[in-house]
């Protein structure tokens, strides 16, 4: 990490000491954030890491004194540029907002007024805080857009928010925030809603801008995120928040390499990474984060800490200042530092435990041919011609979501489908499960042809092909108890003559298999957390003992620690039930943890397929290469190859000719990429790549410039 000066020696831009924030629930005030001390220095990007419920967004906005009407800062000090910010009135804050402190929010589209152009909205900020005329403000806005590397900024300034893509709009938000040269920038999960490749570009941009004194004049930045990877890649200093309190704060390298708090250690250990062997599991943090009303008065992490002593449960540890910029709130940090205390949080190996039932399931499957699923030529286009289109003789341009896709899944194996938005992976999954009816193609389940149309699939087929959805909030009927939700597939798809008692027993077994208490059968989804709901959804998918489960981004909406639990579960259940998965994800680490075979999709087509190792290594398709290099590694000392994709994903209505990736391919070789569709090339070991570049050349190009130490 290149540091020309030590930012910690300068006066902090903003400083919070023992800040406490309360929320009002009904008539009582509850403590949401407690005794938080934080300092952000000029030219420093300070990461604020926490899971949902940790209070990180509340804290970030409170630093700006922007609170909802049921929140208040109850104690502590907040000093901004030497001024006590807590003493400011709302009128005084209005001269600071947008001027000295700026926010880059999470959802750029929702954060802009849909009725005014981008230029207008940027211009009004400039007119408010600087002495510019409307024309001057517009001109400066265009200049700022140019600074954030938007091509054709004059045109973009005249556009409305809904006409721009997510990545472009986030750039607009950054440009707007920087246009008044604020002293403090607060970024609230700014890249969560973006694709990985877009995220990489935005993070690069951000890194460059914050370090450029001509643009930011030595501003400091607070980067709020739950994604440990992006924080490692972007931030200089990190503060870890849990249940509203600071657990640890350290320079980024120290935090990731030598964490001193058990929570930090646990978080880092639960990140999925490619682990050899089928029987290894991710380490997890036991238990669930306490709700606002239930927080312990002693150490707030003590209920889940593997190293908790009676002292921890009796007295709250103070936030100790260990060295410059390093703080820990733990009684046992010295033991952790010296290595005396082993938290036992590294990946665990367990021996397999076959169950009699699973054996029967495996027997049934091995009786069938080796392919559980075989898909050929699946095509799905969206769009209709209305009579007006016909009258005006408009050309019919459907959305070509999936075009002629072939894939297959072997017995007891997991197929990972990787792709970003617009790749068609979700449409493909829905076609397999027949939630969408594919326009063309054949689907074979265990060697038997099944219909593309859901209404024509017999019960047997429905039983063997189940799905787990991305959003656990909407996957369960809020008016059915968990027991009812689990009984439904049992009744409809399992043995019809199941008696009530047997059904209840089976429900209890299912809940146990996903490590949920059997009492949950009587609860409603509203009473469960996100992770618990997703586990119920998984149990429901397994209920009738299917042969294949399609899981669409099963952990994307979950916190890191919860994700580890669910991934472990998926791995265990795969073994004990002998089931195959089609796993869809944009997260390369999740895929590599579970999948043994990968297909990479771009704009409705498969561009590469092979084993996990082959696909992630060289040679690989230029798009895969870009994906891998864009993936933020949770290690600040590792920087991926800086391969970045230019431009935006083309619309699925107006597909590029020839190779669909040629508009953005950093390895485009010439006109052939535009004119001809690339052939499938064999890289050995059933690894296929669809590219015009010969395999050997591709391998040579790509091994030059592996991930290097920064």
């Amino acid at each position: 990490m290149n540091q020309a000066h030590d930012p910690l020696l300068t006066t902090p831009v903003i400083r919070a000491d023992d800040l406490c924030i309360d929320y009002r629930l009904g008539k009582t005030w509850l403590n949401a954030v407690r005794e938080v001390s934080l300092a952000i220095h000029p030219m420093q990007i300070h990461g604020l890491v926490g899971e949902s419920g940790s209070g990180k967004s509340t804290l970030a906005l409170a630093l700006m004194r922007y609170m909802s009407s049921n929140a208040r800062i109850s104690s502590g000090t907040l000093t901004f540029e030497g001024v006590d910010l807590l003493s400011y009135s709302e009128a005084q804050m209005r001269s600071i907002w947008g001027h000295r402190i700026a926010l880059v929010p999470q959802d750029a589209l929702a954060s802009l007024n849909p009725s005014y152009t981008v230029g207008n909205q940027m211009g009004e900020l400039l007119q408010r805080h600087t002495d510019r005329s409307p024309a001057q403000a517009q001109a400066y806005a265009v200049e700022m857009l140019r600074q954030v590397k938007i091509a054709d900024p004059e045109l973009v300034a005249r556009r409305y928010p809904h006409q721009l893509s997510g990545g472009m709009m986030q750039r607009v938000m950054i440009a707007m925030a920087l246009s008044t040269q604020p002293r403090l920038l607060i970024l609230d999960e700014p890249t969560t809603a973006l694709d990985v490749t877009t995220q990489a570009v935005i993070l690069d941009l951000f890194r460059e801008l914050v370090r450029d004194p001509s643009i930011t004049a030595g501003a400091g930045a607070l980067y709020v995120s739950h994604d440990l990877g992006t924080v490692a890649q972007l931030c200089d200093h990190v503060t870890v928040l849990y249940a509203g309190e600071v657990m640890e704060s350290a320079p980024v390298a120290d935090l990731y390499v030598r964490p001193l708090h058990p929570y930090t250690v646990g978080l880092l250990a639960s990140l999925p990474r490619p682990i050899e062997g089928q029987e290894t599991r991710l380490s997890t943090i036991e238990g669930v984060a306490p709700s606002l009303a239930d927080r312990p008065h002693a150490c707030v992490f003590s209920t889940r800490c593997p190293a908790a002593l009676d002292l921890c449960r009796a007295e709250k540890p103070p936030l100790e200042n260990i060295s410059a910029g390093r703080m820990v709130r733990c009684w046992r940090w010295r033991e952790i530092e010296s290595g005396e205390l082993s938290l036992g949080l590294s990946p665990v190996t367990r021996s397999p435990q076959p169950i009699a039932e699973a054996q029967a399931a495996t027997d049934e499957i091995t009786a069938h041919p080796t392919r559980v699923l075989n898909v050929r030529g699946i095509t799905k286009h969206f769009g209709q011609r209305t009579w007006i289109d016909r009258a005006l003789r408009r050309k019919f341009r459907p959305i070509r979501a999936v075009d002629d896709v072939d894939l297959s899944v072997n017995v007891q194996s997991t197929l990972g489908v990787v792709g970003e938005s617009g790749s068609g992976k979700t449409t493909l999954a829905r076609c397999i499960v027949a939630l969408e009816t594919a326009d063309k193609g054949e689907i074979e389940l265990c060697g038997i042809d099944i219909s593309r149309d859901l209404s024509q699939r017999p019960r047997d087929v429905l039983r063997n092909l189940r799905m787990v959805f991305q959003n656990p909030e909407s996957a369960l009927n809020p008016y059915h108890t968990i027991g009812q939700a689990l009984k439904r597939p049992l009744r409809l798809l399992g043995q019809r003559d199941g008696r009530a008692l047997e059904l209840d027993q089976r429900v209890a077994e299912l809940l146990e298999s996903v490590r949920l208490p059997t009492e949950y059968a009587g609860r409603y989804p509203g009473e469960l957390s996100g992770g618990e709901k997703q586990r119920v959804a998984i149990a429901r998918a397994f209920a009738a003992q299917p042969a294949l489960i399609v899981a669409d981004e099963p952990t994307s909406s979950l916190d890191v620690s919860v994700q580890a639990v669910v991934l472990n579960l998926l791995k265990d259940l795969r073994r004990t039930n002998g089931v195959s998965y089609v796993l869809i994800s944009h997260d390369l680490d999740v895929i590599s943890y579970l999948a043994d075979w990968i297909v990479v999709m771009y704009l409705g087509q498969i561009v590469e397929q092979g084993t996990t190792q082959d696909v992630y290594g060289a040679p690989s398709h230029p798009y895969t290469e870009a994906l891998v290099s864009a993936h933020p590694v949770a290690d600040p000392q590792v920087r991926g190859k800086p391969i970045r994709l230019d431009g935006e994903v083309p619309s699925a209505r107006d597909l590029p000719t020839g190779c669909r990736f040629h508009t953005r391919c950093p390895r485009k070789i010439g006109p052939i990429c535009q004119q001809q569709e690339p052939p499938w090339q064999d890289a050995g070991n059933r690894h296929f790549i669809r590219c015009h570049i010969p395999i050997d050349e591709l391998a040579a190009l790509q091994t030059d410039g592996e991930a290097h130490k920064a």
């Binding site: 600071i96 947008g98 959802d107 954060s111 007024n113 005014y116 006409q163 005006l392």
Partner: protein, 317 residues
């Protein structure tokens, strides 16, 4: 946007066509001999006279043919002759009443729209406070009052007690703008009371919804003054649904002010329609109903057009 507007326009034409068929059919089903009615109810007509009238009115053609004849004449501007008032031509009569009604509608809109929107905005900004409750109670209360009650109360207070304004709204030739305003204020205020409830509640709901949206946070964190946030940003989006309500109100203002016109003795379209129905003056009834439906449809089309213009997502696709 072309698709959007083309569909709306075709819907308009279709609506008018269906309406014309319905009007034509219904009025021809009114009990009573048309021939007799056309002479103002005169019973003693000779056979010759009857035959002549029948030919005049084209009653010997088939019903579909009669419809087409009538439609053709209507579109050409020949709206027939009144069954009363000595066979006066219908069109100038109806247009004169329409003019009066439009004046009253214009004044009503000019008063009610800004007032309702203002009240709605205040209520939304002070949501759940006593001001909000006061505005809600007031606007709902006046909506509930029947128009003749409101009119009579207003006449009593402003005309009889205070003698500021006339008690009736008779129209005479040569009225100046000042004269028009004097006779129109009380009926306009009465009509405003009816609209106040709808429009202010719609506005209030729209503003409350918008205030919850993330872009309001962005705009606040730009440090913009409250007024700019509400009037430039929030209202622009919050009023879109209110426009639809206003469009529907216009239809009511054209044809539905019967009671107000009666109480104030104002020669508007609504009153004329009512009188003509009583007198079974079929040509006038037909023409007025067509005008009302046209006004309603145009108002809705106008609202759709305005909505499309104001909403960039529809305007630009």
């Amino acid at each position: 946007m072309i698709t959007y507007l083309a569909r709306r326009f075709l819907l308009l034409v279709f609506t008018l066509l269906i309406t014309s068929i319905l009007i034509f059919t219904l009025t021809w089903l009114i009990p009573g001999d048309i021939v007799v009615l056309s002479q103002g109810g005169a019973r003693d007509l000779s056979e010759q006279a009857r035959a002549a009238i029948r030919e005049d009115l084209g009653l010997d053609d088939s019903v579909p043919q009669q419809y087409l004849n009538w439609l053709g004449s209507f579109l050409r501007g020949d709206w027939g002759e009144s069954f009363n008032r000595g066979s006066a031509p219908v069109r100038p009569l109806v247009l004169e009443k329409l003019g009066n009604t439009l004046r009253l509608a214009a004044l009503t809109l000019a008063i009610s729209i800004p007032l309702s929107i203002l009240l709605g905005v205040i209520a939304a900004l002070r949501e759940n406070t006593w001001i909000d409750s006061l505005i809600s109670v007031f606007s709902l209360a006046v909506v509930g009052l029947p128009e003749f009650v409101t009119s009579l109360v207003l006449i009593n207070v402003f005309a009889h007690q205070l003698d500021w304004l006339p008690a009736t709204s008779r129209v005479q030739d040569g009225y100046t703008l000042g004269d028009w305003l004097r006779i129109l204020i009380l009926p306009a205020v009465t009509a405003t009371f009816v609209l106040l409830g709808y429009v202010s509640r719609m506005t209030r709901a729209g503003v409350i919804d918008e205030l919850k949206k993330p872009y309001v946070r962005t705009v606040t964190l730009k440090g913009l003054p409250r007024r700019q946030i509400v009037f430039k940003h929030v209202l622009r989006n919050a009023l879109l649904p209110t426009i639809t309500v206003i469009a529907i109100s216009i239809g009511w203002l054209i044809g539905g002010l019967v009671v107000i016109e009666q109480v104030f003795n104002y020669p508007g379209l609504g009153r004329e329609l009512f009188d003509s129905i009583e007198a079974k003056n079929i040509p006038i009834v037909q023409s007025i109903v067509m005008i009302i439906v046209l006004a309603f449809s145009l108002a809705n089309l106008g609202a759709d057009l305005l909505y499309a213009l104001l909403n960039p997502r529809i305007r630009l696709g």
